[in-house]
Amino acid sequence: MIGFLVRRIVQSVFVMLAVALIAFMMFRFMGDPVNSMVSENATVAERDEVRVRLGLDQPLYVQYARFVARAAQGDFGLSWRNARPVSSLLAERFPATAELVLVAAGLSLAVGIPLGILTALRPRAFSTQALQFISLVGISLPTFVTGILLILVFSVWLGWLPSYGRGTVVDVGWWSTGFLTLTGLKALILPSVMLCLFQLTLIMRLVRAEMMEVLRSDFIKFARARGLSDRAIHFHHALRNTLIPVITIFGLQLGGLIAFAIITETVFQWPGMGALFIQAVSFGDVPVMAAYLVLVSLIFVTINTIVDLLYVVLDPRLRVEGTRGAH
């Protein structure tokens, strides 16, 4: 277990260093920072002085090491577009994205798992067929088209829900939350539905497939032979064994949600990190792009590591293998 943990963390650190290298290369080879810092008619001597001051005369690996050290402290310099520290730009946008992603993730689990169980237990029912068909259509629709349709129906035609922004937000410390006001909650509905649809269908199909697989297995037959009630078999025995792969996929998809939040934030003009990133991409604003890349990768890598560890904790078979030496 300890060995596994160490190996896994070392691997994560390497991935992060690789990502930092890409971010560093973006800084180093896209545009010359000296040009943007000195006046147009600066002499060569003046330019060289700035170059030395920025540490650009050092060998590349020294520059890279400095970059990593500064990045680890959250320092990515100033945004090229609006000359503010990138870290504070990201920090003020982070709560919006985090709340959106968390609500969408929660929704996809809360709806996807029950639907998956339902369709697995009654494979021939009309409702199952209908759900399967709807989920197929749902997966085929590009997410931004789904979002536009939601806005068209619920905002333009019915006028029930807002189509942009976060509503009224309340500041709790540095965190601005939309959970505490009615407009904030209403504003969350459409974006989180749009963001969760793909994940929801995925989880539903996965739970269904796993559940049907488990229900055929010997230990379920044995449980039936013991005369246990359907309820106990379905929820106590079958569901528990179904949820292990669901956790893995869900963890991996959580990263996907953060990436797809970029699209959702654009459709609903949600003031999150994704919208900031899109602006940075269209303006070629390297510090913001690099910082976003590093931050999102950090979240990905952390989630992946946690999922791998959870896997070991939850599945006793893996645990036995991992601790064989200890016995």
Binding site: M26, P142, V145, I148, V156, A259, F277, M289
Partner: protein, 305 residues
């Protein structure tokens, strides 16, 4: 052996499977229509939406022909700049497909080359390529595509962004999707590498490049066809998403995604037709490609026969 893909594609089994799969036939029909519409766009369109001289502002914001106030000349209506929605869709479809095919080709060339190299040479080269592929694969496609897009944009002077947009897109999508090709080509190359015909070629003094390109390559191309088909759907979708996000094709040269973005801006004026029709075409295109890809995968998979 080089003809195995072709002969299998024409053999009775696959043709039989095609005749008996209504989804395959329907999506093939849809694709033929969409491809024809894209190729013959200038002949089928009522106007050239890129030519400002052909636009008449008095005709702006007309609804589809069958709705009250519609005009028979513009049967899918017009947008706020009096562009005929039907004509813009034809031209947009054309751009979407060009970007789609070109980026699939780029991804295939990069992926096949790296897969062949890794599988044949092995060792450090192979490990480096595959590690990189793993890292790339652990990030969502759209994020990588956005990042490549941003890097290329940052490297270009702003004045060239519009002209270079199509190349930036092809590069961004192509460089994002090569991993699958590389993986599958690598694994078949590793199998082929040990076979007798490769040894024979070696003994005959054929160079390593020669063996890779002339002898192994034709034998590992089979599964690539299936991946390429499924990838086309992905590529079209990624292009549409990037254009929708405003970092793809510019409004002066709209692809389907750009059209949807433009339509989205006027959604609240009640002008629904500008956004709905391009979306329908996009969904139909992606769905048809995906269904055909699914069918092709099953039909060419001997285990499922």
């Amino acid at each position: 052996m080089a003809t195995s893909v072709l002969s299998r594609a024409l053999s009775g089994d696959v043709a039989w499977s095609f005749r008996h799969s209504w989804s395959a036939r329907l999506s093939a029909l849809a694709l033929v229509i969409l491809f024809a519409a894209a190729i013959f766009a200038p002949l089928l369109a009522n106007q050239n939406p890129y030519d400002i001289g052909q636009l008449n502002l008095f005709d702006s914001e007309l609804p589809p022909a069958w709705v009250d106030g519609g005009d028979a000349r513009y049967w899918l209506g017009t947008d706020t700049q009096a562009r005929d929605v039907y004509s813009s869709i034809l031209y947009g479809l054309r751009l979407s497909l060009i970007v789609g095919f070109a980026s699939v080709a780029l991804a295939a060339v990069v992926g096949i080359s790296l897969g062949l190299l890794g599988g044949f040479v092995g060792g450090f080269v192979d490990a480096a390529i595959m590690r990189f592929a793993d890292v790339l694969l652990s990030f969502p496609t759209i994020l990588v595509a956005l990042l490549v897009n941003g890097i290329v944009r940052g490297a270009l002077p702003p004045a060239q962004h519009q002209q270079a947009a199509i190349w930036v897109l092809i590069l961004a999508i192509g460089l994002t999707n090569w991993v699958q090709y590389a993986r599958i080509v690598r694994s078949s190359t590793m199998v082929e590498r040990g076979k007798e015909y490769v040894q024979a070629a070696r003994i005959n003094g054929v160079s390593r490049t020669g063996i890779m390109v002339q002898h192994i390559l034709p034998n590992v191309l089979g599964p690539v066809l299936v991946i390429a088909t499924i990838n086309l759907g992905m590529a079209v979708l990624t292009e549409a998403t990037l254009s929708f996000l405003g970092v793809g094709m510019p409004a002066t040269q709209p692809s389907l995604g750009t059209l949807i973005r433009i339509g989205n801006e006027f959604l609240f004026s009640g002008i629904w037709w500008v956004v709905i029709f391009p979306s329908v075409v996009l969904v139909a295109l992606v769905l048809a490609v995906n269904l055909l890809g699914d069918w092709l995968r099953d039909a060419l998979n001997p285990k499922l026969r």
